[in-house]
């Protein structure tokens, strides 16, 4: 053998990986990469791509296998020791129900979406990075299913998570978000998920759920959260590298990328409203308010990110100011929607206790007492009279985000915000200027939306009555739905706690 020179990591990675590509000559390049041009993105030189990780496959396997060994040891021990008994309260489990039915299927969509870009991005560097992210996202959905498998054995609402994700009205909010990203071109997907979601907004999804788990005794979920953290940091790096690369490659890319940043910021903001409500209302032991999380993770962190990107001509997303103003309201408005419609949801709701109301007053001094406490107190009175309020009408949905039209006008929390657009002789309704703009830019796309309420009225969801629809959702009526008080989950929890007191003597 020849004398061995030491290669630098970068050089070695380049030889082992970047050199694999070749210019096809038996098939035309545009047939091999058929989706590279239609979005209008111009890339002149893929070799300018700087690989942020330089992970060879063997290194990937080694790191990931080590993490999996540790994670599954914790999951086994959690199940063996009935870790659910260590939770702060049975109400906490509802946050995990929302996670499995609303978020885990998105991890799966990300897995397949990154397989798509891992095949179709014409540069070998980002293509491999996308393939690794595709693997990671498969990891996330599978470890979540395994973690929550134990909860499914003891609590309601988890049992048909994928079936529900494809059908249930509020789950069409996260589902349509990801369907939108998956059906965009490969570059839009990278900006939508890789940049806007993973880089700008993921801290507002992941950190609250995982910190919520840590604060509420959910050792299993917090372990997969920690375990996924190093994957997430790779994903964030890929997202930021992609946006910088596109902006550096051609000035014509700027308006396209800016439009996607605007769109996907607003789409993400609407989905994150579910997290807002989880943080402020669903966690028995609270971490911080949504408002505080928004200030830290979007206003501060996002602010410095966009300052950094300003040198490419990119400006902060349109309506960021509106979203920031909404942080005072969104959790209260969302929880009110779910409180009214919990007979049609696969998780339970409840009214906050006195202490919780006081916490909300303290965290939301400008809005809670003025706009939201009176309604909650009225509902509490109704409960006392045995008239727990359920709304038996079906709500109008925003065509873009698919959330019931319960949000208020910017600057006027007493008036519901309505916007409309005409397209091909039909009127479409929106909850906000952000959602209307998104529709107006791609009306052919958003006119296709599978809106759950429309579908129910058209008879496509199992029948004419609410009960027919819920059975079509495969909800176990009287168990998965309705108020937390009196639910089988709560009764079982109370029995466990009572037995524990007896055992403790």
């Amino acid at each position: 053998m020849n004398a061995i020179g030491k290669l630098g990591l970068k050089q070695r990675y380049a030889l082992l990986t970047r050199g694999l590509d070749w210019e096809p000559s038996y098939q035309p390049r545009d047939k091999v990469f058929p989706y590279a041009a239609f979005e209008g993105i111009k890339v002149h030189d893929w070799s300018k791509w700087e690989d942020p990780f330089r992970l060879t496959m063997d290194a990937y396997w080694k790191f990931q296998a080590e993490k999996e060994r540790k994670l599954y040891a914790v999951l086994d021990s959690f199940a063996q020791n009935n870790g659910q008994l260590g939770l702060t309260d049975a109400r906490y489990v509802n946050a995990i129900k929302l996670f499995l039915t609303g978020v885990s299927p998105l991890e799966y969509q990300a897995h397949r979406g990154f397989a798509h870009t891992g095949r179709h991005l014409p540069g070998i560097g980002p293509r491999i990075a996308a393939q690794m992210q595709s693997l990671d996202e498969l990891r996330h959905v599978q470890t979540q299913v395994h973690t929550i498998s134990h909860y499914n054995k003891f609590f309601d609402g988890f049992h048909d998570w994928q079936h529900m994700h494809d059908r249930v009205w509020y789950l069409s909010v996260p589902k349509s978000f990801f369907d939108d990203a998956r059906t965009g071109g490969p570059f839009e997907f990278m900006i939508a998920i890789g940049f806007s979601f993973e880089y700008v907004l993921t801290n507002l999804l992941f950190v609250p759920f995982m910190s919520g788990a840590a604060y509420n005794g959910d050792l299993a979920t917090v372990t997969f959260g920690f375990s996924a953290q190093s994957d997430e940091s790779r994903h964030m790096t890929l997202g930021i590298e992609v946006i910088k690369f596109l902006l550096e490659q051609d000035p014509d890319n700027l308006p396209i990328v800016q439009k996607w940043v605007d769109k996907w910021f607003w789409r993400g903001h609407r989905v994150l409203g579910l997290v807002a409500m989880m943080m402020d209302y669903m966690l028995p032991r609270k971490i911080m308010s949504w408002r505080e999380a928004w200030d830290i993770y979007f206003t501060e962190a996002g602010g410095s990110l966009f300052e950094d990107l300003a040198r490419y001509g990119l400006r902060p997303p349109r309506y960021a100011d509106v979203a920031t103003a909404e942080a005072e309201h969104i959790s209260h408005q969302n929880w009110a929607i779910f409180y009214q419609y919990t007979h049609a949801a696969a998780f339970h709701t409840w009214l906050p206790s006195d202490e919780e109301m006081d916490w909300l007053s303290e965290k939301y001094p400008n809005t809670f007492d003025k706009y939201y406490r009176p309604r909650l107190e009225m509902w509490r009175e109704m409960e006392k009279e045995g008239k727990r309020f359920y709304n038996n009408g079906l709500p109008q949905l925003c065509t873009t985000c698919q959330i019931p039209m319960g949000y208020t006008e910017p600057g006027d929390p007493g008036t519901i915000c309505f916007r409309t657009s005409e397209f091909r002789g039909e009127t479409y309704h929106f909850c906000s200027d952000g959602c209307k703009d998104i529709f107006d830019d791609e009306p052919e796309k958003f006119a296709q939306s599978w809106l759950p309420v429309h579908q129910i009225f058209q008879g496509n969801c199992g029948g004419a009555s609410v009960e027919d629809v819920l059975r079509w959702y495969r909800m176990n009526l009287g168990a998965d739905n309705m108020d937390q008080a009196g639910s089988p989950d709560q009764r079982q929890w109370d029995a466990w706690m009572e037995a524990r007191r007896r055992v403790a003597g």
Binding site: K62, A65, W161
Partner: protein
């Protein structure tokens, strides 16, 4: 004396997710493979047609002419999900790593006869580009396929091919003293050497196959089914007489991998062909086309490595073994 540990009696209310219980007709504990695989892909009520192909949904059974009542019938006999897959490969690669150390320490590659060393450079190193096409095909099948039972292992196979391309690259660096010159030469051969051109044409043609299950048959059965037995079987055996034991050690991963991956590919193809006479006819037709092309593409290289007569015979032999394998899978051949 017995010690009675006081515990709460906590009874589960169900054993597994409802979709699994429905499949098995009974609520009993399910394996991690089953819970993390079956039914986890969305199947209904999609919102928008893809801008990159409005003729299908992004998850759509119609991207292949193969028809299955249940795509989850095509399970992976290895029962790989992310964790078991990664742990298996990490363990496997530990051996590869040790073999590299061993071969380097004993300078085993230097024991090769110079002529054979040139031959190894000629047949092995350009192969990493074919592995790269196989990688893209794996990602492509994962993207376009239907049902996690098939699509997840397609991505696993895809990144396995990347790993094998990188092993070949490491062998090149071991041969050229970490300069990369052998890899440059190999790329030149991949692009221009006559013995490689039909192989490259075949690789490029698989990148544009419209039906993903046809791509599955072409890549996982036909191409892999000719390439691995020839390169890591026949070529490698030839090298034994010329001091090539070091190369055998460094490519042990590929031999083990191809046997393991074939178990999965066979299960998928056998299951799909057994589903209906229509599927069997389709898959048999694809097999006829792509197995012939694979054998023809590899024949010139086999002749260069093994000599004209022996090379042609080896290609025919590989093709014959593949046909026998296809017959066992229920294909009409």
């Amino acid at each position: 004396m017995t010690i009675d540990i006081k515990t709460l009696k906590v009874e589960p209310r169900r054993q597994t997710y409802a979709n699994i219980a429905r499949r098995f007709g009974v609520d009993k504990p399910a394996s991690r493979y089953e819970e993390a695989t079956l039914d986890i892909q969305a199947t209904a009520n999609f919102h928008y047609k893809p801008l990159w192909g409005a003729d299908h949904w992004h998850f759509d059974e119609g991207r292949t002419a193969v028809v299955m009542r249940d795509w989850y019938a095509l399970r992976d006999p290895r029962q790989y999900y992310y964790a078991t897959y990664n742990i298996a490969r990490a363990n496997q690669y530990q051996t590869t790593e040790r073999n590299f150390e061993f071969v380097e320490k004993r300078a085993l590659l230097a024991l090769m006869e110079p002529a054979w060393r040139d031959t190894v450079e000629f047949y092995l190193l350009p192969l990493r580009h074919a592995e790269w096409a196989a990688n893209m095909n794996g990602a492509d099948m994962c993207d376009r396929g239907y049902g996690t039972a098939v699509t997840a292992p397609c991505l696993f196979a895809g990144v396995d091919h990347l790993a094998m391309a990188q092993i070949i690259g490491r062998i090149g660096l071991a041969l050229d003293g970490n300069t990369g010159t052998s890899l440059e030469r190999a790329r030149e051969r991949w692009m221009t050497a006559p013995e490689w051109q039909e192989i490259r044409r075949l690789a490029e043609d698989t990148l544009v196959i419209g039906d993903w299950f046809e791509q599955f048959v072409a890549q996982n059965l036909c191409i892999d089914g000719v390439l691995y037995p020839l390169v890591y079987g026949r070529f490698d055996a030839e090298g034994q007489r010329a001091g090539g034991a070091g190369v055998s050690m460094l490519t042990e991963f590929m031999s083990d991998w191809s046997a393991e991956n074939a178990r999965w590919a066979d299960a998928v193809i056998k299951g799909a062909a057994a589903e209906s006479p229509e599927n069997r006819a389709l898959i048999s037709g694809w097999f006829a086309t792509w197995s012939r092309r694979a054998a023809d593409a590899w024949r010139p290289l086999a002749m260069r490595v093994l000599g004209e007569a022996a090379g042609a015979a080896a290609a025919d032999e590989a093709s014959g073994a593949l046909t026998a394998r296809a017959r066992k899978l229920g294909l009409d051949v």
